[in-house]
């Protein structure tokens, strides 16, 4: 009753917003769908009979295609197998003292004595933990995948730079390579390349190539016109111009690409281990996960984390000179001394191998067995604090997860909340939502009002009971208005594909898990980021934690989460949140720290409290950076879906995983593409929104 009356005075303002009209139509449609829900159940549950067996078509086509092209790929596989074997044998042959010497020399050259000490400590840790041979196998994989990715990425990047018309296709392909979970294409790779470590190598190369392509394009585009012209004036041929002017100028950016590519290759080690083929550190992590041995999984996971940090710092050191200039140690390590050190390392290796040809030289340590104590400690925690963990889990389940999943309408039953809502309470809810919407419309414009209404609807029906036509149209409308009609069509096509493949329930599960995880990450991570931006100590404390969360294989965190919170959605939520919380922390901190100081000072001069400064000056100014963080958070959450499947979810990640188990290439690809579609759609939406707000503020 009150709602329409309240809207009336501002009707004039609404009438002039043509973009609002379709939303009103959608609201009518929504009301219709909700009313007809019981008569027409297909509005909520997409009927099985309507699905298309696309996956089996893909499999049928793939069978034929694979049979034709398989020999070529098998030959390639054999070709790659030789250097792979060579690298593994060479690294296994090198005795550890020689490796340590060589790496320390490189570290000294790259960024000085601190990194050298860190490198030695890392290698010593690997040795003592008893993972030396496995780590060398991992290194062999990375050493081969990186050059492949670099060369391929550079060539593609040059292509994209020289032929701008191909760039949209190229960008689309790169997006897919980075967002389709590797689990989804392991089966096709296995069919094409045959069993063995080469599959892992190819998977790593696929994932690691895009950063190099992007950085190559970026680097070449940013070559200043003045430099290019200088090259032309001095009479360069096109080839000379490219190799002697443009590439050297773009080199810093290319080296950044090199660094990112190396890190990406390393992060694929675990996925490669799922296939097997050789005993590497990823295999060790998977085995300990299988046995639910937390201690061992930390021990082996830490190897990957330390290696990642070491390789990152090493390559960054070569990519960028420090701002303060090279340190004394770096200057001392001249190229000649570096070559000499490497030669000494090699000589040392030869001498050791001549003296003891077959000795492994690896120290006997019982560290791995002593890690059993960590398990006991963990189980002790489980025993002593079971009431606490159960309480947390049940509270979150009852108050957050279930309402989001089945909505207030589904939760308010005697079985779940212990009571059912009378119609009057329902009326109060509707009035409340409408009132909020009106308030939002008055203060922030009609878009906020629509958002409030949508949130109210989702809260009422829950994600699972949302009619799919409404959902698809709403997202398409949003995409169309924010990013243009093409993005809207893209959304319709993507959701349509998911729908006809019968993956809608999994999609809804994924959406609801990821939405919750992203909201949690933004809240908690954002708060931590704000805190870190204002306190040097917190910032220093958070940094290694963030590093560890991002480089440790996620499998490691699954074990304690499982023991504390049991198989189920809550554990999946924890796992996703742990990984996706890093970007908001980093980006919020970075954004706040780099807000223009003069603006902040001006606001403070005007007598704003610290809270006002933060909320009304700093955060709005940092918004573009924060939005970038939001983008990264969504990507991270979606990429965790496939891993969270290991704790028993029912989402798209599980579909990918089940397809992997059944060697169903078609279903795996479709489910993987669905995840990629969500990621790309979210990315484009946020980019378009940022661009719009930037244009509006200009």
């Amino acid at each position: 009753m009150t709602a329409p009356a309240a809207i009336a005075p501002s009707a004039q303002r609404f009438a002039i917003a043509p973009a609002l009209v379709p939303w009103c139509a959608l609201a009518v449609l929504t009301a219709l769908c909700l009313l007809l829900k019981t008569e027409l159940p297909w509005l909520v549950n997409f009927p099985k009979e309507w699905t298309l067996p696309l996956a089996s078509y893909i499999n049928a086509v793939a069978d034929v295609v694979v049979a034709v092209i398989q020999p070529g790929f098998r030959a390639l596989s054999a070709l790659l197998d030789a250097p792979m074997r060579g690298a593994r044998l060479a690294l296994a042959w090198l005795p550890w003292p020689a490796v340590m010497l060589a790496v320390a020399a490189l570290a000294l050259k790259s960024s000085g004595e601190r990194l050298a000490i860190f490198a030695l400590a890392t290698l010593a840790y690997i040795l003592l933990a008893g993972y030396w041979p496995q780590s060398m196998n991992t290194l062999a994989l990375v050493l081969l995948a990186v050059p492949i990715s670099i060369v391929l990425g550079f060539l593609l990047g040059v292509l994209g730079y020289a032929r701008p018309r191909w760039r949209p296709v190229l960008n689309g392909a790169l997006d897919l390579m980075q967002t389709v979970p590797a689990f989804a294409y392991l089966i096709p790779l296995l069919l094409l390349f045959g069993f063995g470590p080469v599959v892992g190598l190819i998977a790593s190369a696929i994932y690691a190539t895009p950063p190099m392509v992007r950085n190559t394009m970026l680097g070449l585009e940013r070559v200043p016109a003045a430099i290019s012209e200088a090259g032309l004036m001095s009479g360069c041929t096109r080839r000379q111009q490219f190799w002697q002017v443009e590439v050297p100028t773009a080199l810093p950016q290319l080296l950044v690409g090199f660094n990112q590519t190396t890190m990406a290759a390393l992060s694929m080690v675990i996925v490669a281990a799922i296939i097997g083929g050789f005993e590497d550190i990823g295999w060790e992590v998977l085995s300990s996960m299988r046995k639910a041995e937390f201690g061992q999984s930390i021990l082996s996971g830490l190897v990957i984390a330390l290696l990642a940090i070491l390789i990152d710092r090493l390559t960054i050191g070569f990519a960028k000179a420090p701002k303060t200039g090279p340190t004394r140690a770096m200057r001392w390590m001249t190229p000649r001394r570096l070559a000499l050190s490497l030669a000494i390392a090699l000589a040392l290796a030869v001498v050791i191998r001549l003296a003891a040809p077959d000795a492994t030289l690896l120290p006997e340590t019982g560290l791995r067995m002593q890690m059993g104590a960590v398990n006991q400690w963990l189980l002790g925690l489980v025993r002593d604090y079971a009431w606490f963990f159960n309480g947390v889990r049940n509270a979150v389940l009852y108050c957050l997860l279930l309402p989001m999943r089945v909505g207030i309408s589904g939760s308010a039953t005697p079985a779940m909340w212990g009571f059912s809502l009378p119609p009057s309470a329902l009326a109060v809810y509707v009035v409340l939502v409408l009132a909020l919407a009106v308030l939002a419309a008055r203060r922030l414009g009609w878009r906020a009002a629509v958002a409030v209404l949508a949130a109210g609807l989702v809260l009422y029906t829950g994600f699972l009971d949302l009619p799919w036509p409404v959902f698809i149209l709403a997202v398409a409308l949003l995409a169309g208005q924010v990013g243009g009609p093409r993005l809207g069509l893209f959304a319709v096509a993507g959701f349509g594909l998911i729908l006809v493949n019968g993956l809608w329930p999994q999609l809804v599960q994924s959406l609801y898990l990821c939405t919750l995880a992203v909201l949690l990450c933004l809240l908690v991570g954002g708060a931590l980021g704000v805190w870190a931006a204002h306190s040097e100590r917190v910032s220093r404390l958070l940094k290694p934690i963030c590093d560890a969360l991002q480089t440790m294989p996620q499998f490691v965190f699954l074990i304690p989460a499982l023991m504390f919170f049991k198989v189920g959605e809550f554990t999946a939520l924890i796992a996703i949140t742990l990984y996706a919380i890093v970007p908001p922390i980093r980006y919020v901190e970075h954004g706040l720290r780099h807000v223009r100081a003069d603006v902040v000072e001006a606001v403070e001069q005007m007598g704003a409290t610290p809270l006002q400064t933060l909320l009304q000056a700093k955060l709005p100014l940092a918004l573009p950076v924060v939005m970038l963080g939001l983008n990264q958070t969504i990507m991270a959450a979606l990429s965790m879906l496939a891993i969270a499947a290991l704790v028993g979810t029912r989402d798209l990640g599980q579909a990918v995983y089940v397809a992997l188990g059944k060697a169903d290439a078609g279903m795996g690809l479709i489910a993987g593409l669905s995840i990629a579609f969500l990621a790309i759609l979210a990315d484009r939406l946020i980019q378009a929104a940022v661009a719009r707000s930037a244009a509006a503020s200009r």
Partner: protein
């Protein structure tokens, strides 16, 4: 006429074998003994033990052996094209759709049972007998108190049953439905999740009923009971849990390439009790796998001698 043809053919095979093995004539039936036999090392310790015993005995026969780690499903791709030679402990209840495909295409060969005495069914931590009096009989699970104890927010008002990961198939859900039990089967996602839940339940004494199998080292450390299962509605794999077979699978070209190894692997068996002891020594006492296996071989010559002798002869 047929006789002469036969003789010519035999001579041809003999010649081929002699050329194939450039080694002395006595080793002819070893086949390509200089090419390593690649044994699949699957993820669990039990399979490590079986594989290494087979490997060390093959080495006694005069072969070179290479152990290659392999995922449970990807291994069939490897076996199909010979990049893996043999896998000696394949649990037939968990072979996915890829196994029947490659078997039908005659790319792999099933060479018989490992004779590992296995068990599969519903288990519960022993303390559950006070929570649900009447266990191990399945009817005890239907008592209201028991259902209430096992109920969780996600499954309420039903009790929670922890099932195998979704990709292993869900017979438990079918059987629960067959018997009108007030339970919801929750898929666990991975073996690690099953083990973690079992250990956590034991530690915190929280009620739990789940699907499991043996021999498994987790059974050696945790005191569990096996539910006496309700009668099967139908005697099919979907409605009935029977102890899974464990078979030995080789690449289809294995027999021709390494005849003696083929004969040996056919005869090779593994005892569940012995395997469990070795698993415990490796996993919990931290002993070296090779040393444990070697100790077993030294002590049990009577067991394996016939396999090796049979293969030589």
């Amino acid at each position: 006429m047929p006789k002469t043809i036969n003789r010519v053919r035999n001579a041809g095979i003999g010649l081929a074998l002699m050329f194939a093995a450039s080694a002395p004539v006595a080793a002819a039936d070893l086949g390509a003994k200089d090419e390593p036999i690649k044994l699949a090392m699957l993820e669990w310790t039990g399979a490590h033990v079986s594989t290494h015993i087979a490997g060390q005995l093959l080495e006694k026969l005069g072969y070179k052996v290479e152990y290659v780690t392999a995922g449970n499903f990807p291994q069939f791709s490897g076996l199909a094209d010979g990049s893996l030679s043999a896998s000696v402990e394949v649990w037939m209840n968990n072979v996915g759709d890829i196994y029947p495909k490659t078997l039908a295409a005659k790319q792999i060969e099933d060479i018989g049972k490992l004779d590992l005495k296995t068990r599969e069914g519903w288990i519960y931590p022993k303390f559950m007998e006070t929570v649900c009096p009447g266990l191990p009989d399945w009817t005890a699970l239907n008592k209201p108190d028991c259902i209430k104890a096992l109920s969780t927010p996600e499954t309420a008002p039903n009790a929670r049953f922890l099932d195998y990961p979704a990709d292993w198939g869900s017979r438990a859900a079918t059987i629960l439905a067959d018997n009108n039990m007030q339970y919801t089967a929750v898929p666990s996602g991975s073996e690690g999740a099953l083990v973690a839940e079992l250990e956590a339940a034991e530690a915190a004494k929280t009620p739990l009923v789940m699907m499991f199998w043996g021999p498994h080292y987790a059974l050696a450390e945790n005191d569990v009971g096996w539910v006496t299962m309700p009668p099967c509605k139908e005697q099919t794999n979907e409605h009935c849990i029977t102890p899974p077979d464990v078979d030995k699978i080789v690449w289809s070209g294995f027999g021709a390439k390494w005849p003696a190894a083929y004969a040996f692997l056919k005869a090779f068996k593994m005892d569940a009790g012995e395997q469990e002891k070795m698993m415990l020594a490796v996993d919990k006492k931290g002993e070296d796998l090779d040393a444990v296996v070697k100790a077993w071989i030294d002590k049990n010559e009577a067991v394996w001698k016939p396999w090796v002798d049979g293969a030589k002869g």
